[in-house]
Symmetry: C2
């Protein structure tokens, strides 16, 4: 018997991605966003939702671009700080010690120290309510060589992305490898009904 | 120095959520979706993207509603099977042994055996490209009592949701608790520039 918990955003897992933008004066800014995910394979697209009150909201509306920076769990202090402070009040790059790198593909900076980053051009904006959704086409993915696996893909076990648990507002690390997708369920798929 | 990997959906973590729908004849169906995330706090909303070719796509267009079912890593075989087979060819509930429960709030079934489920009413549809995005307003969240923590929230450590790694198409479990959000970065936020 399930217990009703009400109309809330209680769902797992959520990411903890860092959105990189330039403001009107070209100052690089970053903020943490958990309301985000992939939303299309072709063109490859990401969706991220921000509140209008955030400084980044104005930056995205102005620059029509953003980066998604995936930090490692070793960079949790910086990731959390990016979700606490506002670029309206301070230079978050300066205070964190991270280095902004100007993307050559979109009008947004990425974090040099991030193991994995995506450069995105905004192709659609939708006002939902408290949050506005920004769909960005992924123009390129860049990764540090030391997080690539033997097939040249970024390894989730080497990136060690931060996972956000909305209910208790806690961060978690990635756990153990379970099984290969489109394989472990194959015997059930082949079973006669 | 970062290596360019091209315009791909290489980003971590992604969820492995099971989307529940009814088809035109009222047959309950489920499919796995990794292109998904939260997209608004007020109203609380989820976004999930499906390819037009899927059987569920027609179900969502018809029923204007869906459930998001978060399975535990113990239910990985069923979760993977739901991403392999099509409801066009078979009854995935029957074959998996899972039980459909008719939602009293939206026109969609949820999985009785899932530890955590969300009942969603579609409020917006957007054709991106290969995928179509369905924004669903969360009408209620329901959880098994045994996954609730002392504060009444679903505990991610008890739910043990499946995490999907897109690059290598592998499933991962949730790892260890790191730190509390909006707390671990506070000393950096309070530091003078």
């Amino acid at each position: 018997m399930k217990k009703s918990l009400g109309a809330k955003t209680l769902v797992y897992p959520c990411p903890d991605w860092i959105v990189g933008t330039y403001d009107e004066n070209g100052k690089p800014n970053v903020m943490a966003a958990a309301w985000a995910g992939v939303c299309c394979s072709k063109p490859p697209c990401i969706t991220v939702s921000l509140r209008k009150a955030t400084y980044s909201y104005g930056c995205l509306m102005h620059s029509k671009a953003y980066t998604i920076n995936i930090l490692s769990e070793d960079q949790l202090v910086e990731a959390d700080y990016f979700g606490i402070a506002s670029g309206r009040d301070e230079d978050k790059f300066a205070k964190s010690g991270f280095t902004p790198v100007k993307s050559e593909l979109v009008n947004a900076p990425y974090i040099k120290e991030a193991p994995l980053i995506l450069e995105c051009k905004i192709i659609h904006t939708y006002e939902i309510g408290l949050h506005t959704q920004f769909i960005g086409e992924i123009m390129d993915v860049k990764a540090e060589e030391n997080v690539l696996d033997s097939e040249g893909n970024p390894s989730i076990e080497k990136v060690r992305p931060i996972i956000y648990a909305t209910g208790d507002r806690e961060y978690f690390s990635i756990g153990k490898k379970l099984e290969r997708a489109y394989k472990v369920g194959m015997p059930m798929a082949k079973k006669k009904e």
